[in-house]
């Protein structure tokens, strides 16, 4: 009998283009230029993730397929001289709420890998676990994850265009404000950032499956396809949970030290969430540009759904939050 995890629902995206910028640092200025071009063209960036490995910074960003054509010139400029992978027909499968539950993520990855579905990235928001795959694999992906999830009986997966009685239903409100209205900002300290890099496929190893039984909740998780067929898993969790996960990931890395690398560091996490972030252009640019201006070292970035997470080295979280408050409107202020 397959062990299942209870979730609230599943959402499928419209067709997206995914760009993986594999260049080495410093590439931030060009990325800011690209994001600025997107804002000028009123193009939303629904997902932006960034992770650091030994010497390289990898950025993954997605935009709607129709928007990519309008942004092609800016994309070419931003990626000049960098290695860039373009997935011209990508999509996302979103499960919610993930509840910080590592077991859910491991079962989803295993189910998709077993079904032969390539995972191009994973990221999390406060509620959503977002898995990137080929657009034409979304329905198969949905079938695969249904085998390991228990959904409410009356749940219908949310789709990009909802039609009721022959008419499209309005489900999103696109708007603009000069500053970003948020629900509040959190600075979480004394966390650990764990990063594992290894050849794909990740994850069907004993150490990895053992992680599914660990108690505790992670704060943020991101998986990227790195260079040369490798994958990079970045996880931010509290120190106690990190000890246990770290031991398993270290064991995994030690079993093939030539191919696998694991690192752990102390980190702070600054996070905030806001209304309609998934529909509103300009947020990625405003946040990312402000952070670049601060010259603080950023270890990982994840903007997905309505959540924005910045991981920085320990002791830097408050400074990072101060700089992000410059561009945000907080409740009651």
């Amino acid at each position: 009998m397959v062990d299942t995890v209870r979730i609230g629902g599943i959402r499928l995206s419209a067709e997206l283009v995914q760009l993986d910028l594999l260049g080495s640092t410093p590439a931030d200025a060009r990325l800011v230029d690209l994001l600025r071009s997107a804002t000028a063209a009123k193009i939303n960036i629904p997902h932006l993730h960034q992770g650091n490995s030994d010497a390289a910074r990898q950025t993954t960003l997605c935009l709607a397929a129709e928007d990519f054509l309008r942004l092609r010139k800016a994309c070419t400029a931003a990626t000049a001289g960098q290695r860039c992978r373009v997935l011209s027909s990508a999509g996302t499968l979103t499960l919610f709420p993930h509840g910080g539950n590592l077991a859910l993520i491991i079962r989803v990855i295993t189910a998709l890998e077993t079904a032969g579905i390539a995972i191009h990235a994973i990221s999390t928001s406060v509620s959503a676990l977002v898995v990137h795959m080929d657009f034409d694999q979304l329905e198969r992906g949905l079938e695969a994850v249904r085998t390991i999830c228990r959904l409410p009986e009356n749940h219908t997966p949310l789709r990009p265009v909802v039609v009721l009685d022959g008419e499209a239903v309005e489900t999103a409100a696109v708007y603009w404000e000069p500053r970003i209205r948020i629900y509040g900002m959190e600075v979480l300290m004394d966390l650990r950032l764990l990063r594992l890099e290894m050849p794909a496929p990740l994850l069907q190893s004993d150490s990895f499956s053992q992680m599914a039984s660990l108690p505790g909740k992670f704060r943020s998780l991101m998986l990227q396809k790195a260079d040369h067929g490798r994958i990079a898993l970045t996880l931010v969790a509290d120190s106690k949970m990190s000890e246990e996960i770290g031991a398993l990931l270290q064991q995994l890395a030690d079993s093939d030290p030539k191919q696998r690398r694991f690192a752990v560091s102390a980190a702070d996490l600054v996070c905030f969430h806001g209304p309609h972030f998934q529909d509103r252009y300009g947020i990625a640019e405003m946040c990312y540009a402000e952070v670049c201006r601060s010259n603080l070292a950023i270890e990982a970035v994840a903007c997905t759904g309505t959540s924005v997470y910045f991981a920085t080295s320990a002791g830097q979280g408050q400074r990072l939050a101060e700089c992000l408050r410059n561009i945000c409107i907080l409740p009651g202020v």
Partner: protein, 127 residues
């Protein structure tokens, strides 16, 4: 059975559902969640919440329709409904305005983007 009052949070913005749920739990409420109007009505029938926080713009059945259904039903009309409406001056192109929300039979209205502290005050005032 817990003495804590049950609040149902309904929105297709799953992150917002999660944040409202966390806030309510920190204020000692029990929370149920639904992501569209059809699921919400089933959850109301099963769990009879004391209050429903209801988004207006949702697939399958919108918040206006569900609110009307509840308020016109003998069985459910006493459940407090707080509508999450859109702010008309920030969002010019929507049918789901704050003014539109005020024409419904809801007990209270909170414009989006919401202030979570203000929402908690409204919840407590209505219970």
């Amino acid at each position: 059975m817990s003495d804590k009052q049950l609040i149902l949070v309904v929105d297709d913005d799953t992150d917002l559902v999660e944040m409202i749920a966390m806030k309510l739990e920190s204020e000692d409420f029990r929370v149920a969640k639904a992501y569209d109007g059809v699921e919400a009505f089933d959850r109301i029938k099963e769990e009879k919440p004391a209050l429903v926080i209801l988004d207006v713009m949702m697939p399958r059945k919108d918040g206006y329709a569900l609110c009307d259904e509840l308020k016109n039903s003998d069985e459910y009309k006493d459940i407090v409904v707080v509508l999450l409406t859109a702010v008309s001056d920030a969002i010019s192109s929507t049918n789901y305005t704050h003014m539109g929300g005020k024409t419904t039979l809801a007990d209270d209205y909170v414009p989006k983007p919401i202030d979570l502290d203000k929402l908690m005050e409204i919840v407590k005032d209505n219970l």
